[in-house]
C-alpha cells in the first residue's frame, strides 16, 4: 500500500514498472477509467490512447508515490475537467466498494464478537457512512456541476453570476470531519475495543481503513489544494 523508495514518475516510464513498484497505481488508473492491462506501454502512450491528460495523471501518480503537492506540478484551467473525472470515479470507489467492504467486515465482526462495543462500532460506522454519502452526493450534485458551469462560462467568455449553494469553507469542513471520524475508528479498533475471536478479521478491517485513508488523504489534498484555487481563479475572472 505504501511506496517507500519514492520514485519520481515521468510520462515516458513504463506503466507496468510503476505498478510493480507501487500497486496503488492500479487504483489511480481505475480512478481515471484506464484499463488495467498495460502491455509494454508508457504512461503517455496509455494516457493519449485513452484521452487522459498525462500531466494530471503523472502528477497524481507522484502523489501516490509519496511526493507532496508542492513537488508535483502546477495546474491550469485546462486540467479541471480531468481532475473532476478522477474525483468522480473515486467517489464511486468509496461509495460502492470501499465503505461497503468495511461495513461487511464490521457486520462479520459482530457475528464473532457480539459485544456492546462492536454493536456501537457498527452504529458509528453506519452513521458515518451516511454522512460520507451525503457529502459525496453534495459534490456530485452541486459542486461539480457548478465547476463545470464556471468552466463553460469562462470558455465562452460570458459572465456567470448565477446563484449557487457552493461554499469553499463548507467543502473543506466536510473533509476534515470525514478524515477525523475515520481516524477515530482506527484508534478504537487498534487500541481500545477488546478482541474476542476476531484477530484475523480485525486485521482486515484495520488494513482496509488504512487503504481508504491513503486514497482519501490524496483525494482531499487534490480537491483542496489543486482544485479549489483553480475554481477560485475562475470565479474571480468571471465575476
Amino acid at each position: 500500500m505504501y511506496q517507500t523508495n519514492r520514485k519520481y514518475i515521468t510520462p515516458d516510464m513504463k506503466m507496468s514498472d510503476l505498478i510493480l513498484d507501487n500497486p496503488s497505481i492500479l487504483l489511480l488508473m481505475e480512478h481515471f477509467g484506464l484499463d488495467l492491462i498495460v502491455h509494454e506501454k508508457t504512461v503517455i502512450q496509455l494516457c493519449d490512447q485513452n484521452k487522459i491528460n498525462s500531466k494530471v495523471f503523472t502528477a497524481f501518480a507522484n502523489m501516490y508515490n509519496g511526493f507532496s503537492l508542492s513537488e508535483v506540478d502546477t495546474f491550469t484551467k485546462n486540467d479541471i475537467a480531468d481532475i473532476i473525472l478522477y474525483l468522480r470515479n473515486s467517489h464511486n470507489y468509496y461509495e460502492n466498494e470501499k465503505y461497503p467492504e468495511i461495513r461487511n467486515y464490521i457486520q462479520e465482526l459482530y457475528l464473532k464478537n457480539s459485544s456492546a462495543e462492536i454493536k456501537l462500532i457498527d452504529k458509528f460506522f453506519d452513521e458515518y457512512f451516511e454522512e460520507v454519502k451525503e457529502h459525496l452526493s453534495y459534490e456530485n450534485r452541486i459542486a461539480f456541476p457548478y465547476f463545470n458551469e464556471l468552466l463553460h462560462f469562462s470558455d465562452s467568455g460570458k459572465s456567470g453570476g448565477g446563484k449557487h449553494d457552493f461554499s469553499v469553507r463548507d467543502y473543506s469542513e466536510h473533509h476534515t470531519d470525514i478524515e477525523s471520524k475515520l481516524n477515530d475508528l482506527k484508534e478504537l479498533l487498534l487500541k481500545h475495543v477488546p478482541i474476542q475471536n476476531d484477530k484475523t478479521l480485525r486485521r482486515k478491517i484495520i488494513v482496509s481503513l488504512f487503504e481508504l485513508e491513503y486514497d482519501l488523504t490524496i483525494h482531499s489534498a487534490i480537491e483542496e489544494t489543486i482544485l479549489m484555487p483553480l475554481i477560485g481563479n475562475l470565479e474571480k475572472n468571471i465575476n
Binding site: 507532496s68 481516524n183 477515530d184 478504537l188
Partner: protein, 200 residues
C-alpha cells in the same frame, strides 16, 4: 494547533530555494502540507480553505508593503510568521516576523525552531502517549457520552463552559478520538461507563 499535519505556506520567488526548503521540511519527520504562494495576497486566499500554521516569507516580498503585511498578520492571529533571510534587510523589516531562518542555518537549527514554535502552542499534543485522563476529565467524559451539552456539564460540575471546552479538547488530544460517538465507545471499552448508563 493540530500536530498531526501542519500547513505551511511559502512565499519565495526562487524555485531552487523553495524546492530546497520544502525538501528539508519534508525530511524533518513531521507531517507538513506545503503550499506555494506567488504574492502577499495569496496568504489570505490560501488561509481561506486551510488554517495556516506557518507562513515563511522572503522579506523582499514585503518590502514597501509593510502596511499590507501587518493587515494580513492581524487577520490571522494563530499563524507563525517566519522570515527567510538570505541578504541584508533593515532590522525594522525583520522585526515584523516572529522568527527568522537564515539561508546558512543548519537543518538541525531549522527543525529546532519549528519544534519550539509547535511546542510552545501545544504542550499536550506532544505528550499524546500519556493517555491517562485526569479525574476532572473523566467526569466531563462521563457526562459528555451520556448526552449532556457543554452548558449542562458546566452547570453540573460548577465550572465555566470555557473550562468544559478546554477539558474536551484535552480529552480528544489524549485519547486521539474527536467525535462524541467515538468517545462513547472509548468510555465503554475502558469501563469508564457501563453500557447501561449509555442506554438510559
Amino acid at each position: 494547533m493540530n500536530t498531526d499535519s501542519l500547513n505551511i505556506a511559502i512565499l519565495e520567488p526562487s524555485e531552487i530555494i523553495f524546492q530546497g526548503l520544502s525538501n528539508l521540511l519534508l525530511k524533518s519527520g513531521k507531517h507538513f502540507q506545503i503550499y506555494r504562494l506567488d504574492n502577499l495576497s495569496g496568504i489570505s486566499s490560501t488561509a481561506q480553505f486551510k488554517p495556516l500554521d506557518f507562513v515563511i516569507i522572503n522579506p523582499g516580498q514585503i518590502q514597501n508593503k509593510n502596511k499590507e503585511f501587518i493587515a494580513v498578520k492581524k487577520s490571522l492571529p494563530d499563524t507563525n510568521w517566519i522570515g527567510l533571510v538570505y541578504t541584508f534587510y533593515d532590522q525594522q523589516l525583520l522585526s515584523l516576523f516572529d522568527k527568522t531562518i537564515h539561508i546558512t542555518d543548519s537543518l538541525e537549527s531549522i527543525n529546532d525552531l519549528f519544534h519550539k514554535l509547535i511546542n510552545s502552542e501545544n504542550q499536550i499534543g506532544q505528550n499524546s502517549e500519556q493517555e491517562n485522563l485526569s479525574d476532572r476529565e473523566l467526569e466531563v467524559l462521563k457526562l459528555l457520552v451520556t448526552g449532556c451539552s457543554n452548558k449542562e456539564i458546566a452547570d453540573k460540575l460548577f465550572i465555566s463552559i470555557h473550562t468544559v471546552v478546554s477539558h474536551r479538547k484535552n480529552i480528544s488530544l489524549k485519547t486521539g478520538i474527536k467525535s462524541q460517538a467515538g468517545l462513547t465507545i472509548y468510555a465503554i471499552s475502558n469501563k469508564i461507563i457501563q453500557i447501561e448508563d449509555y442506554q438510559n
